[in-house]
């Protein structure tokens, strides 16, 4: 009797263990991956040892290490240049990706300096075939205002990366594309690069 009981229990145990990976596999889905990354970013922001203005650079660096892998900067650059991307040489493309990454880093990592307990809530995700997904989240500010943030994600051989962030209907990539386009139709690519570099120079002076 006892023997059979043990056998059954072992069987159930083995069965349960076999089930476990099924739930673990689900971890690769875009929504979970995103929320996990956001959580790890928030952990850095909440870390008491990294608080305070004198730790700003260190905190930004740590945060960047935690979250940058999920962004697909090449795809973002490509989409931000739109039709103009095609006309660039590989070297120019590389330079542009670097510059654009820098812009986004400065702009959005810098915004986290004023983090004061805003909440980020997962709403839903929607997959469009195997390749594209939209993850909808909302940020609840301390004043109770809610900001809808959608992440457009792209599946690169099983690795989900963000290629656009849409805040209250405003797509980040489209916003830059409008700007780049309006500069490019009026002047040259070199001029655009010049403007981006100038902007960066200013940023560096203001953060130092």
């Amino acid at each position: 009797m006892n023997y059979r009981k043990t056998i059954s229990a072992v069987c159930v145990g083995v069965f349960l263990m076999a089930c476990a990976p099924v739930f673990l596999w689900a971890g690769d889905e875009p929504g979970k991956l995103l929320m996990k990354t956001i959580d790890s970013g928030l952990t850095v922001l909440k870390d008491p040892s990294l608080k305070g203005p004198e730790k700003t650079q260190e905190r930004r660096q740590r945060l960047w290490e935690e979250i940058s892998f999920i962004f697909n900067f090449e795809e973002m650059s490509m989409r931000a240049l739109g039709q103009h991307w095609k006309k660039r040489t590989p070297d120019e493309k590389k330079e542009f990706v670097e510059l654009f990454t820098h812009i986004l880093k400065d702009a959005y990592i810098g915004k986290t300096d004023t983090y004061s307990g805003e909440k980020i809530v997962f709403l839903r995700e929607k997959q469009d075939g195997n390749k594209y997904a939209t993850v909808q989240t909302k940020i609840i500010l301390t004043t109770g205002t809610e900001v809808l943030v959608d992440y457009r994600m792209l599946n690169n051989d099983g690795k989900w990366t963000i290629y656009d962030v849409i805040i209250e209907g405003v797509s980040l990539v489209n916003n830059y594309r409008s700007q780049f386009h309006s500069i490019l139709v009026k002047s040259s690519y070199e001029d655009l690069i010049q403007k981006i570099k100038e902007k960066q120079g200013k940023e560096e002076i203001s953060t130092k």
Binding site: I38, Y108, G144
Partner: protein
């Protein structure tokens, strides 16, 4: 013993079923997953969000041609220009990245739409934009910084709640105009709750206790719903970005706003200007000018950045309206 086997078998079956539905279950689990606190957040008006998303995905014709010579000149949409653009993007990079998903790239490209902005008055608008930017930095910012240091955030939120509650007719009637009876009912209910339990609107128990969301509906949206095109892009002094449609919308909202009538009948012009400015400063003080600065600060060309952000945001708000007809911009 038999009982034990039966129970084990039962649980095994349940587990098996659960796993075969793993997809659905994990979706459910994710729905309840909250990034920060793990609280099951109540999601407001889901159907609206979906509606918006689908509208975006299913309306590639709204995506603006990138072959457009200038962003400021209205160009009639060329049929089949999506394919031209998609192909344009894919050629080089695909070989570079060693991928061959051209059709999907096209799809994604169609999905990221770029609104067409008519801006024949650009040089004038740019001047006003610079004026507004200076006003913001040298007038509003010092004012709300001082105001913020004197008045705690909770009090400022209460003041905003109060003004929001008074302006209920704007949202209520626009819900009705947009044939959104449910939304109008929601607004009425919110008004009743907040005016009584919410101490004349200073608190917002309708949202915090009953989870009834505010319906942000304005007259510009109503006009958009009835197929009025956005028209020419305008930057108004102090007010900021607008266009023909939304300017009419502002007038419509002013007519629906009880504060306008209070000002008209009971207040001197100076008092009503003060009232209006106070409402505006209080709003900006809660936001700390974040929305404006987060658009213009990281921008390469702040004017275009603000124009684009405004246009994209308005488009989203118009599409949010139930049974929005997608055939128009």
């Amino acid at each position: 013993m038999r009982k034990f086997v039966a129970v084990t078998f039962f649980f095994a079956t349940v587990l098996f079923v659960a796993i075969s539905w793993g997809e659905n279950l994990s979706v459910l689990a994710r729905e309840q997953y909250s990034g920060e606190t793990g609280i099951d957040e109540k999601v407001p008006d889901k159907d609206i969000i979906i509606k918006n998303d689908e509208a975006e995905l299913t309306s590639p014709e709204q995506a603006v041609s990138e072959e457009t010579p200038s962003i400021n000149t209205p160009v009639p949409e060329v049929p089949g220009d999506e394919t031209v653009r998609g192909a344009g993007i894919s050629d080089n990079d695909i070989t570079e990245k060693g991928e061959a998903e051209q059709p999907e790239l096209e799809l994604a490209e169609a999905e990221t739409e770029m609104p067409l902005v008519k801006d024949p008055l650009e040089s004038f608008n740019r001047a006003v934009f610079i004026f507004n930017d200076k006003t913001f930095h040298y007038f509003f910012k010092p004012i709300y910084t001082g105001y913020n240091s004197m008045v705690p955030e909770k009090a400022r939120v209460s003041v905003r709640n109060f003004y929001t509650n008074i302006k209920m007719p704007v949202r209520f009637f626009n819900c009705l105009f947009q044939a959104n009876v449910k939304g109008a009912g929601t607004e009425m209910l919110r008004f009743l709750i907040n005016s009584t339990v919410g101490v004349a609107g200073f608190l917002d128990p309708a949202k915090s206790k009953f989870h009834i969301e505010k319906q942000d509906r304005d007259f510009g949206q109503t006009l958009g719903k009835y197929k009025m095109e956005s028209g020419t892009y305008f930057v108004w002094p102090f007010i900021g970005p607008s266009n023909t449609r939304d300017t009419l919308g502002l007038l419509g909202d002013a007519a629906l706003n009880p504060l306008t009538w209070v000002s008209y009948f009971f207040l001197t012009p100076i008092e009503s200007l003060g009232n209006y400015t106070y409402d505006t400063v209080n709003d900006v003080s809660i936001d700390k000018g974040n929305t404006y600065e987060s658009v213009t600060k990281p921008a390469i060309d702040p004017y275009i950045a603000l124009q684009d952000a405004y246009t994209q945001n308005r488009m989203k708000k118009i599409k949010e309206s139930p049974d929005y007809d997608e055939t128009i911009d």
